[in-house]
Structures are given as structure tokens and as C-alpha cells.
């Protein structure tokens, strides 16, 4: 692997202005990766600040209702700040601090990554600026206020489609503007090398814990892992330690929006083609001339026209499968999990829950299915109400 290639995918397709910054990041990362002091500090933060390990919860009622595989939920929603995003952010902000950076910037879609970054920056005493599409600041107003409470400055991005893709564009532009004292805390397993590797490594704690926990509870590995995929960080996090376990199916659930046969979709594997964008070669929703498509999903966190390069590679090799899940299915799953297990999932995670509802009944009762519940759904309540035709003041 050179320059972070995963098969045909990955690479470092960024302006020259940023090249020294990513090379410096790569050096620092490989240095601290094997530095016991750094690792101890990170583990301390993960355990005693973020609340790890997260529970592996047996969803007994859901299992009984679906009459198939035993369903476990990996409760990343119980982490501090309410999603898996904190795993990566604590690692990267700690790294930034060790590198002598005094300021962090980040993109955010649903706001989960922005909130996590603002949290870690507050804790570690770094300046923080968050870029968020204007449309997302409207549909996730609570998270905007949350970030501001944490001391971050939030910029509403008004270019392009005003969603996650444009937030990434604007954060990259800001990084070229001020690179010496600033680290870009990229939120997913995407972008130029070394980000897909760094984010995957910091998120792989999810799968490492699942492996231990499921062996402890069941004495065997699961038959399938389910996770939602936008850029793909929570999926990569749970998949990574199982890639070498051929008996475990790895299934990523993409946001199909109003359906993969409509233009209002964000399902990259289902509808995209090979391209090079946001620093990486991978699959993207785009037209025949390489213009990036204005994608759509009810979930701001999955509303992204690409997928991380390692996922693209896992798809090429057939090691992982990717399935589309529509807005309707995700909203139904959101409500279903709330009623059935008393757990309100993030609408992103609800995409994985939705596919679990389809898959579990086709599996045997002796089989095990683990769903990565990547975030909690408080932030989505008002949007789901709107989807159901009810107006709620946040």
C-alpha cells in the first residue's frame, strides 16, 4: 500500500498547498500510533470521558418479534456526545495537540461529528470552527446551538447543495487558507490519505469490542454485521476486525432517499461510478462528465455523494455487501426500535435497523446479527415529526 491505496481506490488528490500538511500528519500518526504514552492517554479518554466500552445489547423483543437471528445492538449511541464520532475525534484532536496545532476545523452533516469535535476541542483547549451546509443547519438547529455552547464557531455553508459535500469543500478551502496552526479533523473514512486509515483505526475500537463481547456472550462470532454507510466510518469501525473472518457477512446500508431509481438518492454503491473527488479515488454519484450529483437523504449524515475508498475496495473484492435503504424504511425503523426496545436511534443508524428487519427473519434462530447503533436519535425527533406531518418546535 503506497499513498494509502486500497486496491484501485484511495490516494492523495489534493492541492499542492495541502500536501506538506498531510505528509506531516502521516508522519505524526505513524509515530504516535506506536507511542505508548499517546495510546494510554487515548484509552483513558475513551474509557473515562467517552464511556467506553459501549454495551453490546441483546435486543430480545426485536429478536422475538422478527422470529429469526438473534439480534444484538452495539450501543455507540451511549457514548458521550451520542454517537461513534467521538472515537475518531478524541484520537485526532489528541494527535493535533501533540503536533502543536492550536486550532481544529471540521465539516459536519447531521452535526454529530461537529458536536464531537467541538467537545474534544473544548476539553483539550483548542480553537474550533465547524463548517455545516446551510440546509443542514436548518434541519439540525439543536446541534448548531450545541456546538456554539461548546465554544465552537459554526459557519453555515451556502455554496453548492448546502449539505455535507459542500461542508467538506469549504473545510478543505479553509484548510488551504490557514494550514500552519490548523488540523482538519475529517469525520469519516474518506478524503486524502492518511485520513481513511487514521479514521478507520480510531473507529476500529467498535469492532474490537464487538468481537470480545460476542465471544463472551455467545462463545462464537456473529454471522453478519450491519452498519449504515455515508462516508462509512461507523461501518468501517465495526467491519475492520472482522475482514479476516470469512464467516462473518459485512453489510453496509446506504441511504436510498426516495429510491435508487429516482434522482433523490445518496446510495453511492447502488447508483455511483468510479471517480476522483475529495482527495480520493472511489465511487461517486455523478453524471457522465464527472459533475458530482446533488444527492438526497432524509439523514443529513448519510447525505453524501461518495463512499470511503476502503469500502469501495471491500465492494470490489466482494468482501462486503452494500444495500440501499429508503427514507420510508428508515423512518419506520426509527419508530419501530423506539417502540420495541425503548431505544430512539439516529435516523442514520435507523437505516441499518431497517435492513435488520428484512434480514433477520431470513436467518436461522441459531444465527447472530449485530447492528451498529451508531448514534442516538434525539437530534432527529423534530425532523421525523415533520416527516409525519407534525410541526414541533425544537
Amino acid at each position: 500500500m503506497s499513498n494509502g491505496h486500497f486496491g484501485n481506490h484511495g490516494g492523495q488528490y489534493i492541492p499542492e498547498t495541502l500536501m506538506n500538511a498531510v505528509l506531516e500528519l502521516e508522519d505524526a500518526y505513524y509515530h504516535y500510533k506506536n507511542d505508548p504514552g499517546f495510546q494510554d492517554e487515548l484509552t483513558e479518554l475513551l474509557n473515562n470521558y467517552a464511556g467506553r466500552p459501549s454495551l453490546l445489547y441483546f435486543a430480545e423483543k426485536m429478536t422475538g418479534d422478527l422470529k429469526g437471528a438473534k439480534i444484538y445492538l452495539k450501543r455507540e449511541d451511549l457514548n458521550h456526545t451520542g454517537s461513534h464520532k467521538i472515537n475518531n475525534v478524541l484520537g485526532q484532536v489528541l494527535l493535533a495537540k501533540r503536533m502543536g496545532k492550536t486550532r481544529v476545523i471540521a465539516e459536519t452533516g447531521a452535526g454529530q461529528h461537529g458536536v464531537a469535535t467541538a467537545t474534544a476541542a473544548a476539553l483539550m483547549g483548542l480553537d474550533c470552527e465547524i463548517f455545516m451546509g446551510k440546509e443542514d443547519t436548518d434541519r439540525q438547529r439543536l446541534n448548531v446551538y450545541r456546538m456554539e455552547l461548546l465554544g465552537a464557531q459554526v459557519h453555515a455553508v451556502i455554496s453548492g447543495t448546502q449539505t455535507l459535500k459542500d461542508a467538506v469543500n469549504e473545510t478543505m478551502r479553509e484548510w488551504t487558507n490557514r494550514v500552519a496552526d490548523t488540523h482538519y479533523v475529517l469525520g469519516s473514512v474518506m478524503g486524502p490519505h492518511p485520513f481513511p486509515t487514521i479514521v478507520r483505526d480510531f473507529q476500529s475500537v467498535i469492532g474490537r469490542e464487538v468481537k470480545q463481547q460476542v465471544l463472551q456472550k455467545e462463545g462464537r462470532l456473529p454471522d453478519a454485521l450491519l452498519a449504515c454507510v455515508g462516508g462509512g466510518s461507523n461501518a468501517m469501525g465495526i467491519f475492520y476486525n472482522f475482514i479476516e473472518e470469512p464467516g462473518v457477512r459485512l453489510i453496509g446500508c446506504e441511504a436510498a432517499g426516495r429510491g435508487v431509481d429516482t434522482a433523490e438518492t445518496a446510495a453511492t454503491i447502488a447508483t455511483g461510478t468510479a471517480g476522483i473527488f475529495h482527495g480520493m479515488k472511489s465511487y461517486f454519484c455523478q453524471d457522465q462528465y464527472g459533475q458530482i450529483a446533488p444527492v438526497y437523504s432524509i439523514s443529513a449524515g448519510l447525505d453524501y455523494p461518495g463512499i470511503g475508498p476502503e469500502h469501495a475496495h471491500l465492494y470490489d473484492t466482494g468482501r462486503a455487501e452494500y444495500v440501499p435503504v429508503t427514507d420510508d424504511e428508515a423512518v419506520e425503523a426509527f419508530e419501530y426500535l423506539s417502540r420495541t426496545e425503548g431505544i430512539i436511534p439516529a435516523v442514520e443508524s435507523a437505516h441499518a435497523v431497517a435492513y435488520a428487519r428484512k434480514l433477520a427473519p431470513t436467518m436461522g434462530k441459531d444465527q447472530i446479527l449485530v447492528v451498529n447503533l451508531s448514534g442516538r436519535g434525539d437530534k432527529d425527533v423534530a425532523a421525523i415529526a415533520r416527516y409525519r406531518g407534525e410541526q414541533i418546535d425544537e
Binding site: 488528490y13 500536501m19 506538506n20 500538511a21 490557514r178 473527488f277 455523478q286 462528465y289 459533475q291
Partner: protein, 256 residues
Amino acid sequence: MNKLPQVFANGKAFIPFITAGDPELEVTEQLVYQMAEVGADLIELGIPFSDPIAEGPVIQEADNRALAAGTTTDKIFAMVARIRQCCQVPIAFMTYVNPIFTYGTERFMKNCREVGVYAVIVPDVPFEEKQELLPFCSTYEVDLISMIAPTSNRRIRKIASEAQGFIYCVSSLGVTGVRRELSNDVEQMIKLVKEVKDIPCAIGFGISTPEQARQMARLADGVIVGSAIVKIIGQYGADCVPHVVEYVRSMKNAIE
């Protein structure tokens, strides 16, 4: 035949940038003829991209206008072919890697060769990834222009030693756009390049006034101006041609 050497053969080169298809291709075609007429030494034609991450708001909006007008890579090739029937001004394409890759890199470079485009500038292909394009650039004799930036430091020697055509020196941090102040770091950057290789250097990013152009031309072999021109196009739309021509004339005079 590659016409890039002639760009820098007559004193300091003035290199205007416009986005093809902004506000429509007919206007672009007229702009090329008339900018060549008043002394543009090389014309940088932008192939619009939906998400130009190295551009500031002015050129982002130009890309949006061009795409909204239905501009495509095929239509741009057809326009350049038309231009070539009566005008031989050197042309370089400026675009992002995705429009090239998606079009098919070989097909893209082959078309460049056929219509007489002798260079491509691709800001999101750094030195480390140039093999993505270089093999086809070589086959069809299209120069892949290297960029150096104020953050390049020790990378400059490596980049310069393998550079072709000319070197695009990015004057300042950040994205494209008009700037009031320009740094003089670029003088040091160019000195480093020339130590390694005798290759023309053109400075871009932020230059808008004749005074700035004069100042930068003293340091380099050429001056690239984009956002200031695109701003005029944005202001006057389809009636922009005389205004742009006047501006290009004043800038060309300033550096002579």
C-alpha cells in the same frame, strides 16, 4: 506541435483565465479571439466542475453559471476545434481530475492533441499522484503543468526537476480570488525552481491590478489572472467582451 515554448518567447507572458461556457460558449469563443488579439500569450480555459475545491467564490459562481448553461466537456472540445480554424493562440485547460478521469483520461488527452490544447493544469493532482494522468499526457504530447505553493518548501526541488512546460507558482495560501496584498515569498520559490531547472515560472492566485501584475512580472516569466477577469464576466454577462478586452489590454501593457 507543442506551442508552449512560444508563450514565454516574447518577454513576460500574460495568461488570462476564463471559465469555458460562462455565461455561454459563444461568449467564451469571442473572448478567446479578442484576448489573443490584444496580446494574451496563453489562454487558460477552465472546464467547469461542480465542486472546485481550489477556487474562491468568484470562480465557483462562474462554474455554476457555465454548468447551468449546459456546458459539457464535449461542447468545449468542439468550441476549441472551431477556434483553431482561425486562431492559433496557445490554450491550456484548467480543470479538476474528476472531469478528466470520468471522461476517460486517454480520450481526454487524445482530444486535447486533436484540437491543439498543449497543456493541462489540474490543481487536485499533486506530484505524488501525477501518474494518474502523465502516461496519457506523454502519449499525446500534452504538458501536465506542475504547481508549487508557499507551503511547498523542500518539495520544490522534486517538483521542479520533473516539471514540464512551465511552473504555476501559487502566490498565496488559500483559494483563488482577488487579494489586496501579495506576498513576496514567491521570489524565493522561483529562485529555488531556477536552481534546479531552467523552466518558465508563471505566478497566479490573487493578482488583479496592473500594479500587482507589474510587480509579479518582475519576479517571474509570466502572470496568470483569473478571478479579476471572471468578476467582469459575472458583472456584464453576455456583454462582457469589450470590458474584458480593455482589462486584458491594460494588464498586458503593465507587464511589458
